[in-house]
């Protein structure tokens, strides 16, 4: 039962009529999209500042509203009211489309993520493949931004972004595939649907002192989980892998020339990407929206925010690697390890299970 089905049922629409079901799906997507954007709105102007400030012994925003929360509104107004500077000789419309592609592609991914409490727009059989596919679309946006900006720093940033994404996309997907081997399906499903990725994680792995430990793939295969976490850090471009932006080296990389609302979209895209990364990790390694006592949606939020916290932690503490070292880690280290993991998983699945 997806959110689209529920809405169709509530509105009395015929789920078998593509037009009527489409309306229900659009409403469902709007709800999920808005929900994620609210998360990003809290994360970007407020939570990120507070978290970084805690790591660096500062106070950060505390002037407007309780805990400085109204900075979200103030910052939104400030950013949107700034002048949109369009540099000479930018390659339009690629330059204008890039922020949309970057922000949009990540948002697409949430269409199939089971967020618990029945919130999931769609549940196709190729769910996991779909998520990886749309998430990688961002690379196209990065190239567009880097190339169209007519700025050498942007160009360097765009090239770095592509090189980095190529180097990490493959280990990321390969590690994801090991989960598919376990589950035997690409469908993400939900907590109650057996024979789906999330559903398969609900079985009990072991009982320690009366507490049942679910067979989340992070527990079943911690090695794959670590690989995926690292590859995901690179995928979203956070320390130690923030080379495409590397503000002290190449100013701001591909987003150097973006201001005002385009800047907001770029930033938005980055944060949605981090949350999408968190959502994928939660779904395929941390049992999806499952958890004791609290409703699924709360556990889902806890998990994606935990991943967000991890990226901020890495950002405050870990030095950035050089671009050539990064590529080396990707192709020579991660790729090999992810293949090893894949073979290992295949053996475990083939022999043990």
């Amino acid at each position: 039962m997806t959110l689209s089905d529920t809405i169709a049922g509530l509105l009395g629409l015929n789920a078998n009529d593509p037009l009527q079901f489409g309306i229900a799906a659009i409403i469902a997507s709007t709800i999920v999209g808005t929900f994620m954007l609210v998360n990003v709105a809290i994360a970007g102007p407020w939570a990120k500042r507070k978290i970084t400030a805690t790591f660096t012994d500062r106070i950060a925003v505390n002037r407007i509203g309780p805990f400085g929360l109204m900075i979200i509104v103030a910052d939104a107004v400030r950013l949107l009211s700034k002048e949109l500077i369009v540099p000479e000789k930018v390659d339009r419309p690629a330059w204008d489309l890039a922020p949309l592609v970057i922000a949009g592609s990540a948002l697409f991914g949430f269409a199939v993520i089971p967020m618990g409490s029945g919130i999931q727009v769609a549940d196709p059989e190729v769910g996991l493949a779909y998520v990886f596919a749309v998430a990688s679309l961002a690379s196209v946006g990065l190239v567009m931004a880097g190339y169209a900006s007519n700025n050498k720093y942007s160009m360097l940033g765009g090239l770095r972004a592509v090189a980095q994404n190529l180097a990490y996309e493959i280990p990321l997907v390969l590690t994801g595939v090991s989960v598919v081997l376990f589950a035997g399906t690409l469908q993400l499903g939900n907590v109650n649907a057996a024979n789906t990725i999330v559903g398969a994680q609900q079985a009990t792995l072991a009982t320690v002192g009366g507490i049942e430990i679910p067979s989340w793939y992070a527990f079943v295969n911690p090695f794959a989980f670590m690989l995926f976490l690292v590859a995901n850090l690179a995928e979203v471009g956070r320390n130690p892998f923030d080379t495409p932006e590397a503000p002290t080296e190449i100013v701001a990389g591909y987003q150097t020339e973006y201001s005002s609302v385009y800047f907001v979209l770029m930033y938005l895209g980055e944060f949605i990407h981090i949350f999408l990364g968190g959502a994928i990790i939660a779904t395929i390694f941390l049992g999806g929206p499952a958890g004791p006592v609290l409703p699924g949606i709360v556990w889902f939020l806890v998990k994606i925010w935990a991943v967000f916290l991890l990226t901020q932690w890495a950002r405050s503490a870990l030095p950035r690697v050089r671009i050539d070292q990064l590529i080396e880690i990707g192709w020579k280290g991660m790729l090999v390890l992810s293949f090893a993991n894949l073979i290992l998983t295949a053996i475990i699945v083939g022999v043990v299970v």
């Binding site: 660096t56 002290t248 405050s316 503490a317 870990l318 030095p319 050089r322």
Partner: protein, 558 residues
Amino acid sequence: MSLEDPGPRDVGLTKTGDVNYDELESLLGDDVLGREEHLNAEAFVIRPDAVQDVLSTLKTDAGFDNCNCVTAQEYQDRYETIYHLTKYDDRTQEVGVVVPTSKDNPVSESAEPVFRTADWHEREAYDLVGIEYEGHPDPRRILLPETWQGHPLSMDYDQTKPQVVTLRENKNPLEEDQRLNDDSDTMLLNIGPHHPATHGVLHVEATLDGEQVADVEPDIGYIHRCEEQMCQQGTYRHQIMPYPDRWDWGGAGLLNEWAYARTAETLADIDVPEYAQVIRTMSGELSRILSHMLAVAAYALDVVGDFTATFMYGMQDREVVQNILEDLTGQRLMFNYFRLGGVAWDLPEPRGEFFEQIRAFIDDLPEKLEEYHNLLTSNEILQIRTVDTGRLEPEIAKSYGATGPVARGSGIDYDIRRDDPYGYYDKLDWNVVTEDGCDNYARLLVRLQEVEESAKIINQCVDLLEGWPEEDRTIQANVPRTIKPEPDTEVYKSVEAAKGELGIYIRSDGTDTPARFKIRGGSFSNLQTLPEMAEGEYIADLIASLGSLDTIMGEVDR
């Protein structure tokens, strides 16, 4: 150094180990036109076409391997370039090489083939004074714009004439896209003058081959503020002292003040009371900690990233020192605390509380430094980023006149505090930190360890000050209201400032203001080494190397 048996390196030395100028003169032979007596050392006046001969003889035969400074000036009847030579092994051995040139043809031979550091120094001499150097590889202006008319420190320069440097006349930095030739795949990248990692207004023209740096050229002069000229207009007694603070806004202001104090005190023959020396030493080292902490914190920004916790930790730890110095000097940045012959005022009352404050800082320091080592030097990612990148071999560093932590990071055991002692340093127990790595990592380590050594010095100073008898607390010598040194007295003295050796040359003309005031900024020479370190490496390493030099544009552009 053995006294009985002078070896080949001891040419030009007396048996007691002093410089034997007579022997040096005979070594140089016909090139010498005469001798001059400067307060710091004797100088040979030589023929303008024999500069390379003389300098290379002094360098290879007599061991004067440190071309510390090049001063250019104009007299009524001639131009003059002075090469201040000394030795990395023994800073007290100095010799000046004076190269006079005629008014109508101010050309002398370039010293660049002998000392690489002469490259920038001679460009500056040409830019500001108007002397030309034959055989100089790159005879352009360095501080002023290319379109500038006249030479500001020359006698016929009209200071009231407006200089119009229009945007059109300025070279468009965006115009040239490729450097080497049109077929190559290189790209010119302007790093700065406004860039997050240039730590001020430095412009680095980098030619890139992909991500690799094919060619680097630092372009300086964006905040040239005529500091030398301003100092020439101030009186010795009080009006010059505020300026040195403005050559380093990284906190090392007191050390810079000391450079002027030392030079002017040598010039006017002033003895500083011991009590004031101890205060100077203590406050100077606090100042060094301020500067080094900032350098380390900013280096974390360059290498770790712009949300690093290390930067804020550095700023917080600095804040403690900042407060101590504020209590002492009344200022947080432009201290203006030193006076000729001593310091402005005594330690703040109650003294016990002040000492307590310093002690508390010193006691906390080891724990704090441990944190920096955890976050930075022992971090593996930082190590792969900095170890063996930005290599600066000792021989190259010497040729560029590199000093301070940059030289000591290349294994050159050179520290003026020990080698040519001043203040109270020679009576205290501390060590000169050197690292043999020659790379970005070594320079970082040197700075962190020097903070420890500074703390050691401060601790001993506090001990001394606590026990100092009350009737003996003279903070200033008896200095005449107006200082008028004998005409044509020349002196060049330097101190170990935070960034490197800060030297000042003064020539008096009998009035109460200097006739020539030349500043040798440590960062000026250190920055010149950047191409040696960065060429052939990646952009990220270029940034890391630039950060590891810890240059401050205030003493580069002056």
